[in-house]
Structure formats: C-alpha cells, structure tokens
C-alpha cells in the first residue's frame, strides 16, 4: 500500500507530466478524426433532406409564383397537361385517387397488422415468434414493383371474375395491394410498441383474474396506444408516397372515384409516368415538381406527427 502511494506521488511530481499535457499522441488524432467522420455521416441525413427539398422547390417554384392558380390547382379535377392549346392542371382527382387508395389500404392494413402484432407479441412464444418476426421483416423488404406485378397479374383477373367488373385495376385492387405492402412495417412497429409494455403490467392484471384478452384490451393496448398510432401514421406515409405499385394497380385513369371499382390515378404515379415526357423546364415539368413539393410537405407532416406521437409515450 505504502509503496503504491509512493509510486503515484512520484509519477504526479514527474517533470515529464507537463510535457504530456501539451503533447498530442496518435490516439488523440484518431479520436478527432473518427469524431469528424461520424459527424459528417450524421449531418449528411439533414443535408440530403434539405438538398432534395431545395431541388424539388427550385424546379417547381417558378410555376407556383408565376402561373399557378391555387383554386384551379387544388379544387378542379381536370388534368390534361399535354393539351397544346389549353393545358389544365387540376390535381383534385389525383388527390382523390391517392386518398381513396391510401384510405382503403389502411382499412386493410390496420386490423391485419394489429392482429399480427398482438399474436407475435402476446401469444406466440419462442421459435414461432422468431420465425414470424423474420418473415414479417422479409415481407417488408419485397420491392414495390413486385407488389404492382401481383396487382396487375393476379388481383386484376381475380377481381374481374369475383365482382363481374370490366376492369380489375381500381381503388380496391390498389388498396389491397398497398395495404398488404404497408402491413409488415406497421406490424413491426406495433409489435415493438407492445413489447415495450413491461411484463409486470401483464402479470398484475393477470393476477387479478383478467383473461388474456382482457389483459390485452384493458391494459396492454392502452399502454401501447401511442406507439400503435405512430405505426399507423408511418403506414399512411408509406401508402401516400408509394408509386410503383399504385401506378400498376390503380388503372391510372384521372377520375374522382364513385366506388371502389373505379380506376383512379395517384399523385405519385402521375409524376413517375409523365416526368419522362415533359420538356425539362417547361410548364408541365414545373407542375409535376409542384406536385412533388406538395407530396414532400404532406409526407413530412405525417412523419413528423408520427414521430412526435411515438416520442409522447417515452415521456408519459
């Protein structure tokens, strides 16, 4: 003990200590370098978002300030941009297309994903749970063009046969496809939210004689509701921004739907289909970017609210 104390004191009074304090060794530089690299990676996400927003805005803003008639743009359903004499740029029908497909998709996806999440989190045990989780994640990774293909090749003839309609590419088709597409990611988030509910809540409720369903319904779901709502909103964002599958499954016809068997066209699909033909810098091109700004803002708001809601639970 005594010698250790002596040694420490010697080191502390060592004259070289002053030198050490002023000399930067390799470890110091590695530390700084890595901190810098990680900082750039982290900040790049912000730069990309800002960059995309800047680019989309730059391309579309000319139209917004010079020629855009807000009433015509948002409130008329006439979309005929390639009319040489009198092009019309009303996106009401496109918004109706996106909204109807997304709405129907949520009707499909919410009960489906909630049920799946409850089964995985509350009932499945051990191996079953692990296998299901991997499969759900695998499902979430299926490219959207594959889903569109399923809509086009499998759902289309099925819907024609079942409902006796002339065309099977419609709100129903796209809604189901989009619902199935959004369900895995929503299941994943909902399952996380349910797993975040501590087991002692379940035990306490079970101990007082609640059945399993009562425990889920009265205790677990209310405790997880913010996370579940956040998951639904992310699903809405996914449906809203989805392009390829809706382009293939909606029928791509400008139309305010009267029924789920009507073909519609989505905002995103319009951009995807027409941008290639539009003259760069021309009016049509700018209008498409204006739609892009609109989509960007709506998606941003949806994701931001989802994030705020999910954060809400951690505080409460």
């Amino acid at each position: 003990m005594g010698t250790t104390t002596q040694a420490l004191r010697n080191r502390a009074t060592d004259a070289r200590m002053a030198e050490d304090f002023d000399r930067r060794d390799p470890d110091w530089y590695v530390d700084k370098l890595l901190a810098g690299i990680v900082f750039v990676c982290g900040i790049s996400a912000i730069l990309f978002v800002l960059g995309i927003f800047f680019f989309v805005t730059k391309e579309g803003i000319g139209f917004v300030f010079e020629k855009m008639d807000f009433r015509e743009f948002f409130l008329t359903p006439y979309w005929s941009p390639s009319d040489a004499e009198d092009p019309e740029y009303g996106i009401l029908a496109l918004m109706a297309g996106t909204a109807s497909v997304t709405g129907l998709a949520m009707l499909v996806a919410v009960p489906f994903s909630l049920g799946a999440a409850i089964f995985i989190a509350e009932f499945a045990s051990g191996k079953t749970r692990e296998v299901l989780k991997v499969l759900v994640e695998l499902l979430a990774a299926i490219p959207s063009v594959v889903w569109g293909f399923i809509g086009l090749v499998i759902m289309n003839p099925l819907l024609i046969k079942w409902f006796d309609i002339p065309v099977g590419l419609c709100v129903l088709n796209a809604g189901i496809i989009l619902g199935l597409m959004a369900a895995p990611i929503m299941t994943s988030i909902a399952e996380d939210a349910l797993k975040a509910v501590p087991d002692r809540y379940r035990e306490a409720a079970e101990a007082m004689g609640a059945t399993r369903w009562q425990v889920i319904y009265k205790v677990v779901l209310p405790a997880a509701k913010n996370g579940l709502l956040g998951g639904v909103l992310l699903g809405v964002g996914r449906g809203f921004g989805e392009t390829m599958a809706v382009l293939m499954a909606t029928g791509h016809a400008v139309n305010i739907p009267d029924s789920i068997f009507d073909s519609v066209r989505a905002l995103t699909a319009t951009i995807a289909a027409e941008l290639g033909e539009a003259v760069v810098g021309g009016e049509h091109y700018q209008v498409l970017f204006t739609i892009g700004i609109f989509l960007f803002l709506v998606t941003f708001i949806i994701n931001l609210s989802a994030d705020l809601i999910v954060r809400g639970i951690r505080k409460g």
Partner: protein, 270 residues
C-alpha cells in the same frame, strides 16, 4: 399432481389437525423450474381470517409458493407444480376457470405496479372486469378501497392522474387498493415493504391489522419483525423447505421444533 391416496397419506401425516376452518390447504407441494427444485414437499394450512406469515431468506421458495397458489405457474415457462393446493376446499389444479380463482385472490407484488392508467381506473379495473360499470357504484368502490389502503386523502384530488406517476409508496398503496377492489377472499402480500419507506410501511401494516376481520392474509416478508408485529401464525421457509409452522410469538420466545428457526429469527443467519 399426486394420486388421491398419496394426498390422503400426506394429509394424515402432515396437515395440522386443528379444528379451524381452512381457507387454504397445501399438501406435499413441490415446485420445480426445469431441474431446479424451488419448493420441496411443503405442507401447511391457512385458517380463515388469520394473518399467516411466511419468513425465510432469499431462495426459500416463498414467491414460488404464492405463484402456485394463484395459478400464475401457467405463465412461467418451465415451472412445474406437484402436490395439492386447496382453496376453500377446492383443488386448484382441477378448476375449469382459473380466472375466477385469481379474481378471488388479491396479490401485492414486491415492487409496486401502478398500471399506466388513471388512479381511478387502476382501482376500478377489477370491478369493471367483473361487470360493474355503473359510475355511482364504481365511485363508492374506488373511494372505499383507496381509503382502506390509506391512500384516499393523498389522491382524492387527482384521481384522474396517471397511476404510474405516483411515488413508490403511493403506488404500493394503490396496488393494495387494487387488490382490495377485487373483494378478495385471500390477500397475498409478497415483501410489500421492499420499495416503501418505514412510515408508509407502518401505515400499511395498520391497514392489514384492520383487514384481518374481513379477509385472510398471507404475508410473505423478509422482515422478521414485520411477521412478529402482524402474523398470528408464521411459517419459516429455508432452501425450499417449510422448516416449521407455529404461533408467531412461539417462534420468537417459546419452544421451537427446529433450532434453525430460532437462529433465523434472532438474526444469526439469513
């Protein structure tokens, strides 16, 4: 599970032959987790309207016993219960509806569990599960249970606050109020004072003394003096065995059958 003849033998040899009505009878109870034995051949009987204390060091099998009584073993993977537990004379392993059993047994866990709902809803949960939805009835139940748990005065102005945001001691009393809202036949407390300050502990102990009139209480505690203050009779558990059951005061001052009991209550080990 043992055959009926084995149970009869066990009851002849081990169950106390007293004339009190028994709320709970445990015969030859053995609990295993995989290969590990948590409780080995335990026999005891809890009389109606007594406070029955269970003392013993960690790993004595006290919590496993409570789990088995409440049939929470169903939810613990690998937990295997052999032997017989009779609640109000019924073998609990043969009940068709274990939810009905659990709803008549109130449990207070070592760490307070304020469910993430309002204080009011915490206490109203069990009545609601039983189908009581009338606001006026619920109001009465909530007030009565919170009062009996010595919490009403502190929370009566914030019944709509989240139960999980109360302080630890308040949450534990909320847990007790919730257990009381079940109108239980049997109240089991598992080291309830672990997360509670001494003053609150004494208040809860006073509550338990009053409750003795209405409900049978099984009190698992690691505080020997708490058992002495509260329990009419006490069992001493050690390493999965029930070493001794006796009138509480006898364990401290009278004759003991096993010297280990005296050693433990006098603090020589544990």
């Amino acid at each position: 599970m043992v055959s009926s003849s084995a149970a009869a033998v066990a009851s002849d040899s081990a169950a106390p032959a007293d004339n009190f009505p028994h709320k709970l009878e445990i015969r030859n109870l053995t609990i295993r987790y995989g290969n590990a034995v948590a409780l080995r051949g335990v026999n005891l009987a809890v009389r109606e309207h007594e406070i029955f204390g269970i003392i013993g060091p960690a790993n004595a099998g006290k919590t496993s016993l409570l789990k088995a009584i409440n049939r929470m073993d169903v939810f613990t993977s690998g937990m295997k219960v052999d032997g017989e537990i009779r609640f109000n004379g019924r073998d609990t392993s043969r009940l068709k509806n274990i939810y009905a059993l659990r709803s008549r047994i109130g449990v207070v866990f070592p760490l307070p569990v304020g469910l993430p709902m309002t204080v009011y809803d915490n206490v109203a949960l069990s009545p609601r599960l039983r189908g009581i939805n009338n606001k006026a009835d619920l109001d009465v139940i909530v007030q009565r249970c919170l009062t009996r748990a010595a919490l009403w005065d502190e929370v009566k102005d914030r019944l709509q606050a989240l139960g999980s945001l109360l302080s630890g001691g308040q949450q534990q009393r909320l847990t007790i109020a919730r257990a009381l809202s079940q109108e239980p036949d049997l109240l089991m407390l598992d080291e309830f004072s672990i997360a509670v300050d001494p003053v609150t502990t004494m208040r809860i102990e006073d509550v338990l003394k009053e409750l003795r009139q209405e409900v049978t209480i099984l009190l698992v505690t690691n505080l020997v003096q708490q058992a002495r203050r509260l329990a009419d009779r006490t069992a001493f558990f050690l390493n999965g065995e029930c070493v001794e059951v006796g009138v509480t005061e006898d364990l401290f001052t009278g004759e003991v059958k096993d010297q280990r009991t005296r050693d433990y209550v006098e603090g020589r080990f544990g």
